[in-house]
Symmetry: C3
Subunit: 199 residues, 3 copies
C-alpha cells in the first residue's frame, strides 16, 4: 500500500509547511502589533516573516520563481493570518510569550522543510543542513531587522542551535533510511525541544 | 494606428521607470548627504536606493540576471544623479521634505512598474500586487537599514498602504480593459495622492 | 607553455578566492566573539560574512544555485575558521584591529574576484566594477546589520572607495591586456593600500 504511505508522508509535510507559514505569519503580525502599525503594516510583517525564510532558501538554491510566486495561496494564508491577529491583537498583545512560542514552532517546522528541500534539490547533506538553518532563522531575523528590534540571533538563547539540531536530526535520520515522515517528526521534535526548553 | 498607441504606452512606461530610478537615487543620495558621506558613499546609496526594489523584484520572479545587469544604463543614471546631488547638496540638504517628496514619486512610479512586471511575468493579479508593493518599498527600506535610520515602515505614515493602493488600482484598471498607459496613470495617481497627502 | 601560465593564473585566483572566504569568516567570528555568542553563533557569523558577498553577486548575475551550494567546501572552510577563532578568541579578542585588517584583506581579495566573475559573466566593465564593489562590501555590511553594529559604510573611513579602486584597477588593467594574475595583483594592491592606509 505505497499510496497510503505516500499520502501520510505528504500529509505530514504539507502540515509542517503550512504550520511554518501560519505561525511565522502570526509572529510577524504580533511584532507589527507591538509597533502599533496599521492593518497594512500587519499584513506586510505577516507576509515577510511567513515566507521570508523560504524565499531566501529558493533564491540560494535557484528554485525560481520563488515558491509563493508559483503558489500565491501562501500569500493569502499570510494575509488571512495577519487579519486574524489584527482583530484579536488587543486580546493577544500582552502575551509576548506567545510570539516566542509561535516562533519556536515555526523554527522547528522550517528547519525540517528547509533541509528536505535542500536535500531534494542538491543531494548534499551539508547543504541540506545549511538551507534548513537558513529557512528556519531568516524569517525571524528579517522581522527583527525591519521592526528595528535587537536581532534574535544576539539574545542569549538557543536559536540557531535549535535550527541546526532540527535540520541535522532530520538529515541523519533520513540518511539512515528512516521513513520521511518519521525523520521529519524527529527533526521537528529536536528543534522544538531545544528552543522551547530555552524559553 | 496601433504603433501610435504602442509608442505612447511605451513612452509612459519608460518615463515611469526612469522617473522611479532617478528620484529614488536622489533620495538615496540625500540620505548619504545627511550622513556626511564622501562622494563614493553618495554613489553607493544612490545606486542601492535607485535599483534596490527592482533588484528584489527580479530575483523573486526569477528574471535573471537582474535588469541593471542587462542594461547598465540604469547604474549610470544612478551615478549621474548621485554626482548631481553631491554637488548641490549644500543647496538641497536642509530640505528634508524634498527627500520625502522624491521618495513619494518613486514609490508611486515603482508600485505601478512592479505590478506591471509581476503581471507580465506570472499573469497573477495577487503576485502583481505583491511585486508592486515590494518594488515600491524595498529601495527605501534598504536605504534606511544601511543608513542605520528607523525604517520608514515604522513611521506613523501611509507608506506601504500607498504602495498597495497604487499596485491594486493599476491591476484592477488593467483587468477591466483600461488601456495600459491610463491604468498606469491611475495607479501612479492613487499611490502619490495617498503618500503625498500624508506628508 | 600555456599550461604553466594557466596554472599560475588559476593558482593566484584560487588563492584570492579562499583568502577572501577565510579572512571574512574570521572577521565574522570575531564579531560573534565581541557579542559573546556561543559556538553555533560563531559558525553562523563566519558563514554569513565569509560567503555573503559572493552569494549576492551570484544572485544578481543569475549564477544559480550560488557557488557554495555547488561547492560545499566553502561552507566547511567557514566552519573550520569559525571553530579555530572560537578556541583562540580569548587570545585574539582584544585585538579589534585584527578584525579590521582581516576585513581589509577580504575586501581587497573580493573586489578583484567579484569584478572578474562579473566580467566573465556579462562582458561589461561597468557591471564588473559594480559586482566587485558589491562582493567586497556586502559580507561586512551583512555582518554589521546582523550584529546590530553601526554599518561600516557609515564610518568616516575609506571602505567602499577601496573596493571601487580595487575593482576598477583590475578591470582597467585587464582591458589593457595585462595578464590576468597581474591585473588581479594590481587590483588587490590598490584596494588593500587604500583600505589599510585608512586604518
Amino acid at each position: 500500500m505505497p499510496n497510503v504511505s505516500a499520502n501520510k508522508e505528504s500529509g505530514v509535510l504539507t502540515l509542517l509547511d503550512y504550520a511554518g507559514v501560519v505561525v511565522f505569519a502570526a509572529a510577524g503580525a504580533l511584532a507589527a502589533s507591538r509597533k502599533q502599525l496599521d492593518i497594512i503594516g500587519f499584513l506586510f510583517f505577516s507576509a515577510v516573516t511567513g515566507v521570508g525564510g523560504g524565499t531566501l532558501r529558493d533564491l540560494i538554491l535557484g528554485r525560481l520563481p520563488v515558491f509563493w510566486v508559483k503558489e500565491p495561496i501562501y500569500i493569502l494564508v499570510c494575509v488571512a493570518t495577519g487579519i486574524l491577529v489584527f482583530f484579536t491583537a488587543h486580546f493577544v498583545e500582552w502575551r509576548y510569550k506567545l510570539l516566542l512560542w509561535l516562533d519556536a514552532i515555526g523554527l522547528a517546522a522550517y528547519s525540517v522543510m528547509g533541509a528536505l528541500i535542500g536535500l531534494e534539490t542538491t543531494g548534499s547533506p551539508i547543504i541540506a543542513i545549511v538551507t534548513g538553518m537558513l529557512t528556519a532563522t531568516c524569517g525571524g531575523v528579517l522581522r527583527d531587522i525591519l521592526a528595528d528590534e535587537p536581532s534574535v540571533l544576539l539574545r542569549p538563547e538557543i536559536y540557531i542551535t535549535a535550527a541546526l539540531a532540527g535540520a541535522s536530526a532530520f538529515v541523519l535520520c533520513h540518511a539512515q533510511g528512516v521513513p520521511l515522515y518519521l525523520s521529519a517528526a524527529v527533526g521537528f521534535a529536536a528543534a522544538f525541544a531545544l528552543r522551547g526548553g530555552a524559553l
